[in-house]
Each structure stands twice: as C-alpha cells, then as structure tokens.
Amino acid sequence: MIPEYYEFENPVRILSGLRALDNLPFELGRLGARRPLVITDPGIVKAGILEHVTCAFRDSGTESFTLFDQVPPESSLEAVRKLARIYRQQGCDCMVAVGGGSVIDTAKGLNIMITEETDDLRRFVGSDLLEKPMKPLVVIPTTSGTGSEVTVAAMITDTVNHVKLPFTSRFLLPRLAVLDPRMTLGLPPAITAATAMDALTHAVESYLCLQKNPLSDAYGWAAIQLIRAHLVAVLQDGKDENGRLALANASCMAGVAFSNSMVGIVHALGHGCGGACGVPHGVAMNIFLPHGLEYNMGKVRDLLAQLLLPLAGPETFAATPAGGRAEKAVAEIRGLQADLHRITRLPRTLKEAGVPREKLELIAEKALGDGALLFNPEGVDYRDALAVVRNAYE
C-alpha cells in the first residue's frame, strides 16, 4: 500500500566490492579533500585492517595523512575534543572514519565541532539543531550492523555526567561509504552475529513502522534476504569474502531503510537496555526482536506475514497457511536466534546477557524516552514496555 505521503533521502555515495578501498583517494579528490584525518581505534590497528587503507593511498598523490587511532570503545566528548584539536592543528579538510559504531559516531561528533566552530557539543544535542552543511566525512565500516555509514544519527557519551548525548540531523550523513569485505574478514563470530542481528532488526522494523514507504520497504526487504542467505555461512567460515560483502551491503541497505522509515519498540527497549545495563546494542536487538514483533502483532499481522518470504524463503512461505505466516515469521527469527546461540553463544534472553532482574523497571523507564516509540505501530506505555522486558528476561 502506498502511504498518502512520505519522504525519502539517501545522498550517500556508496562504493561496494572487493578492493573498493582502492578508489578512496580518487573519491577524496572529487570531494576536494587533500588533508584527510583518518580516525580509528587501537583494535583496528592491532588487527592489521588499517593497512588496507594505507595501501589504498600508495602512489595516489597523497603525500601523507594524519592518523588518530585512540577512539575509545564508547565514543566520548573527550575523544571528540582531542580530535578537534588535532584536526585544526594539522589543517585537515576531511574525515575518514575506519571502524564500527563508536568510531563513526566520534567522527560525526568531530564534524559537528569543526563545522559549528565550537568546543561544546552539548549545545547541539537533540533533533535538527544543526543547520550548516558539514565537512566531507568518509565512512569505512569494519562491522556489518549499525548502518551508521548511511544514517542521520550519532551518539556521544558524556563520561563526566554519565549520559549519552544523541544528535540527529540530515547534515550528519556522510558523503561517502566504502564497503570492502577485507575490512570485516577478521570480525569474531560473536560480534558478526550480534551486529547482523542489529541490521536484521533495522530491516524488519523499517518494514513495520509508521513511516514505512515503498522505497524503504525495498531496501529492508533486500537486506533481510541477504542476511538470511549469508549470515550462518559467514559464521561457519569467517573468511567468506562474498558472504562478508553481502552482510556489509545488508547492513548498509537496512541503514538506508530505517533512516527513512524509523524503527520502533525493539530499538527503544534496546537503547534502554544499553543505557541501564550496558548490554551491547546488537545483543539487545537479538533479545528483543521476537518480543517486539509479538507486541506489535495485532497492528501489523499482514506485514509481518509478508516478511516470512524474505525471512524463510519461498518454500516455507508457500507451505505455511496464510493465517499462520506472521507467527511463523517470528518463529523463523527464534530459529535463527537458536542457531546463533549454538554457534556463537549469543545471548537469547536478558538473563543470559547478565542483566539483573532489578534493572527491568529502569530499562522500561528509559525506553519511554526514546524517539523510536513515536513510530512504533502500536502505542506503548510504561506497563506495556515493562511487560515486554519481563517476557525477554528468561
């Protein structure tokens, strides 16, 4: 069904493929950038992944680039301030983020600081408070899950006041994303599984939430198909380049989908769970996805039934009576959860993730402040959120 009105935007240029990185210097030239600041974390350097970026600059006319390799596991205001000093001192004119969600969010925070010529990011916390086009930002993801390379959001932690600062603006969209499977080949199975479930949740929720539209549906649908086809195979053979590239594409497409359709209760609870108990986002998505779908079932039964096709394939879809397809779709996700637990021990419940029972109320309370609930197909109050959290406990 076509919505009576919708908007869609994805201005990010995407390079995808084996050795896609080789084109990075050329693309930077197109953006008019000569002095890149490459931002990453110590793990990426230690794993030798950064070498692919360095190789891409060889014989490219780029004499040198500045490297910052100390992004902490959780992007922080201090790291952004430190980076801003380096960016200004070195006369850089663009940013290249090589890493997962934390590195990418740090680079987005840096871009706000540089563009707005400020040292206080807190002035821009919230939605749509940025009004200037930003410096060129290139993102080279090293995980396949967040979709941050094509999203409008960033989350920076204020480690002094212990709060997460969310930033949302279309100006935060990177200019270029490079999906090169060499960047994710060494990703451990547990992280591969958790991040893929984050991408799957983006794709599934994008198909069900109130802002869905035909274009976001297409991206979400294709992302689900790719994850279904390649995730388990990649977990069994981490060096499967084709599978890794497929998951990187799925993550990117799911990112485009949810940036334009938004997400719902699964993400709201996941953010609450991360804030209250520090459960990694992908793990929380894996836990809450089937419970969130069951909560929304009454409003989106038909849409969920459609998703059985990309989730399970045409044979299962055809063999399932129309009236049972929505439940079967949730069962397929639970089946995938079980596979991932068997292969990687990825937690299926909050208890397995080490969440104390006394934190359940706090998770529900925090979820209520999440903007994702605006777009959830079913209304959610505190009691509803708490009921879902309790169902997910064990």
Binding site: G126, S127, L210, L368, D370, G371, L374, P377
Partner: protein, 175 residues
C-alpha cells in the same frame, strides 16, 4: 504575458489554529495541576523549561513553561523561537490544520514528516504523552482514538468531572 500571483492566506485556518492553541494551552495549564500522571511527567523536566509550538514559517505559535511549582504555564504566542528549549514545529499551515481539525493524528503527522522537533528527545516524548492525556480529557473517545496510538487510561469519573471543570472554568478563566 507574465503576471504576479499572490497566494494570499487562509485566514480562517489561521484562526482555527490560534483558537486550538488557546484551548490546548489553557487546558494543559489546568490539567498540569490536577492530573497526577501529567504532574509526574512534568516533574522530570527542568525548571523554566520552555516548549514552543509553532506553525512554520510565520504562522501561529504557543508556548508552555514549566514553573517552579512543577506545573505548566500557558505563555500565549509572543515568545521568541530562540528562547525555547524544545520547539515542535508544524512545517506548513495545511498540515497544522489537518492536525488541529482532528483529521490527522500526531503520530501520523510525525510519520509523514509534517512536524519537526528541535531539542531534547526524551522531553519531546514526555510532552507527547502529556498532550495525549490532555486530548483524552478534552475530546470524545472516538476522536482521541483517531488522534493517538493508544487511548490514555483515565478513570471515567475523573475524566468527566475534570472535563466539566475545564470547559466551565479552566479554559475560559485559566484557573
């Protein structure tokens, strides 16, 4: 041949929206004193927190401020945008009319990108819950069900007594 076209203004739509802003503003002010759930929501907002509702680019506006006593005060329409901690802006007068004539729910308006929010997201979510409760006090169930995703739970006796008070004294006199 060229000629100048003046699109003009839908004065009656502007009037309807101004009237609805006044009704909602006064209702929020009164209910922030007597409804425990609204009071509980507002208690988490910083003192002096100012919310501005406006229709872009130069349409009607209405501001609410959180007082020291933990209530919301209706500040009318003469508040500068720069002073607001949270701005809820409807992008054009036609969209605002759809919402304020109850043809379109708030969530649907957000989902159709007709409303933009500038400011702290958790507080924006909290003010949405406040508005939903205010709607439930002010309007018949059938309209509220169309406007919100989930009908706020209010005991019938409380709702009807409060509604009577709202329309008899609260909105006309702001008490």
């Amino acid at each position: 041949m060229t000629r100048e076209i003046r699109p003009g203004t839908d004065r009656w739509k502007v009037l309807v929206i101004k009237l609805m802003f006044f009704l909602f503003g006064r209702a929020v002010q009164v209910l922030s004193r007597i409804d425990p759930e609204i009071r509980s929501e507002i208690s988490r907002w910083p003192e002096g927190f100012l919310i501005l509702y406006r229709v872009l680019p130069h349409g009607p506006r209405m501001a609410l401020a959180r007082t020291r006593a933990g209530r919301l005060e209706y500040r009318g329409g003469n508040v500068a945008g720069a002073k607001a901690d949270l701005t809820v802006a409807v992008k054009n007068i036609q969209s605002a009319f759809l919402v304020f004539s109850f043809q379109m729910g708030m969530n649907q308006a957000y989902a159709q990108n007709r409303i933009s929010v500038r400011g702290d997201v958790p507080t924006a979510m909290s003010q949405m819950r406040v508005l939903n409760r205010v709607l439930a006090y002010m309007l018949p169930r059938r309209i509220v069900q169309r406007m919100t995703l989930k009908m706020p739970e209010i005991r019938p006796l409380r709702k009807h007594v409060s509604r009577g008070f709202l329309y008899a004294f609260g909105i006309p006199f702001g008490v």
